[in-house]
Amino acid sequence: MVEQPLQRNQPGMIDDAKINAPRRMSEPPFVRRLLIAVALGFIALFLVVPLVSVFAEALRQGLGFYFQTLRDPMTVSAIELTLIAAGISVPLNCLFGVAAAWTIAKFDFPGKNILLTLIDLPFSISPVISGMIYVLIFGAQGWFGPWLIEHNIRIIFAVPGIVLATMFVTFPFVARELIPLMQAQGRTEEEAARVLGANGWQTFWRVTLPNIKWGLLYGVILCNARAMGEFGAVSVVSGRIQGQTNTIPLHVQILYENNNIPGAFAVASLLTLLALVTLALKTWVEYNTTGLRGTAFTPLPLKKEPNRKLA
């Protein structure tokens, strides 16, 4: 991870592979500098400036106001609800991810490719629609609406709806990291453990889990970032009742719409810090492993398996 210094005046030093390469194998220095400048300019304009401005806007009224906003009971309750929603949806999606990866990577069965496509489905659906589908089922005009009202159970405009919507949008994250990883690892190690007398749980805890721990951690980091930051889907099912059904992103919206811009940015800076921590952890995991490249952040379709012939 050592940063390379600028090597403007030493074209031959750029890297070993290029020392002996003919001149036509690389771009002239001015083209190279121009491309680097364009790339850095674009990154600065679209990523660095917004990032810096979040903190600048958040601290515009001073540190006192900043901490006062964060200590506000409404902010605290939004933080609590976000922690609850992530605390339920991340472990459940984790369990699902491990089960799905085990069944897909360790066994052959028909329809596997359809299952892979279905697991990916929540990624291609607009957050607004992701929230709406639960309104259609549990809302007052929905399938179970009348029954729920009769029994005085609230799902939509209440905490269960927020948890459900969060579960939906973060559904594929852990599974997507684990499936390719476990497919690549194959099943020979587990088979050896079984032949040597380990039972199913021992095989999983002592052989499989140590093999997938980095992938699992990676999936959890990305899943958690999305769970805590989800806005559109949660916004549909929340009803935005302050102190009750308000998550951190929804609280940002309320403050912003009430024209409390520094307050909105103060709360938003918490989510920005979460994003920066996520990126740092993600980079750290990638540094410690090979092959993990954030398949959930770049939702390319999972690789399909050719139909295996029966042995």
């Binding site: 680097i36 069944t103 919206q253």
Partner: protein, 279 residues
């Protein structure tokens, strides 16, 4: 029969497959199916009245137009970023590489209020553009900016690994056969990267079509002018017009599924095209 014998010594097939299918059905498949069932309660006349209404048509046009333009701009700049990250060394390269994923990691609501404030007439960037009569926040241009922000990582992250795995022998062959650098790039390197670039473009486009959080703040949400489809659906939901929202959602879902199919085909093509990409 043959298959169950083949499963051999590893346990847990029924348990994990059963749990996977149950959880998938409860969280994803049944709720999505509900949308289609609910929309079938509408007559064709009601359905078409909603999905072909002038505000809906204007929203499709804006959604498709802005998403396409944003993905196109990202295709150009994302490609340059990926190229620079793979091929050159410069100060802070690792930092830039990690930062590319910011639009994924940053909650969309934060992106939304930040861009809206930055590009407002009194904002850091908007104030700089205002004297030229360019308004960004609360216009269609603002929507394009927000969609460009969220789409950037898709292009970089699809092109980057393919470019890194590219076999340099082909470039060497082109150079030794007398091609200059531009010819080698345009005739040899670019065609090999184009499936990945197209895949990244489609992913960015698909994501932009459904985007809500980062757009809602920077758009003034005026029907026929600055209302993209997700905002239109949200408006119908806020007005408790569930049937109309469902009809629009069905249109968007069908479009999303078609795009997903296209991306799957592109991915398959890309894997076949680049033998160096581990299949």
């Amino acid at each position: 029969m043959l298959r169950s014998q083949q499963r051999g010594v590893l346990p847990g097939f029924r348990l994990t497959l059963g749990y996977t299918l149950l959880y998938l059905s409860l969280i994803v498949i049944i709720p999505l199916a509900a949308t289609f069932v609910k929309s079938s309660e509408l007559s064709w006349a009601q359905f078409s009245q909603t999905v072909f209404s002038p505000p809906a048509l204007a929203a499709y046009r804006l959604s498709f137009g802005a998403s396409f333009l944003a993905a196109a701009v990202n295709a150009i700049f994302g490609f340059i970023v990926a190229w620079v990250l793979v091929r050159y060394d410069f100060f802070g390269k690792q930092f830039v590489d990690a930062l590319v994923d910011l639009p994924f990691a940053l909650p969309t609501a934060v992106a939304g209020i930040t861009l809206a404030t930055l590009y407002a007439p009194n904002g850091w960037l908007g104030g700089w553009l205002a004297p030229f009569g360019i308004k960004v926040s609360y216009t269609q241009l603002g929507i394009f900016i927000a969609l460009t922000f969220i789409g950037l990582p898709f292009i970089v992250r699809t092109v980057q690994p393919v470019l890194a795995d590219l076999d340099s022998e082909l470039e060497e062959a082109a150079a030794s056969l007398g091609a200059n650098r531009w010819q080698a790039f345009w005739r040899v390197i670019f065609p090999m990267l184009s499936p990945a670039l197209l895949t990244g473009f489609s992913l960015a486009f698909a994501r932009a079509l459904g985007e809500y959080g980062s757009v809602v703040f920077i758009s003034s949400n005026i029907p026929m002018k600055t209302q993209i489809v997700p905002l239109l659906i949200m408006g119908e939901l806020d007005g408790f017009h569930l049937a109309r929202a469902t009809a629009l959602a069905v249109v968007m879902l069908v479009i999303s599924f078609l795009l997903l199919l296209a991306i799957n085909l592109l991915q398959w093509w890309s894997n076949r095209y680049n033998a160096t990409n581990p299949a």
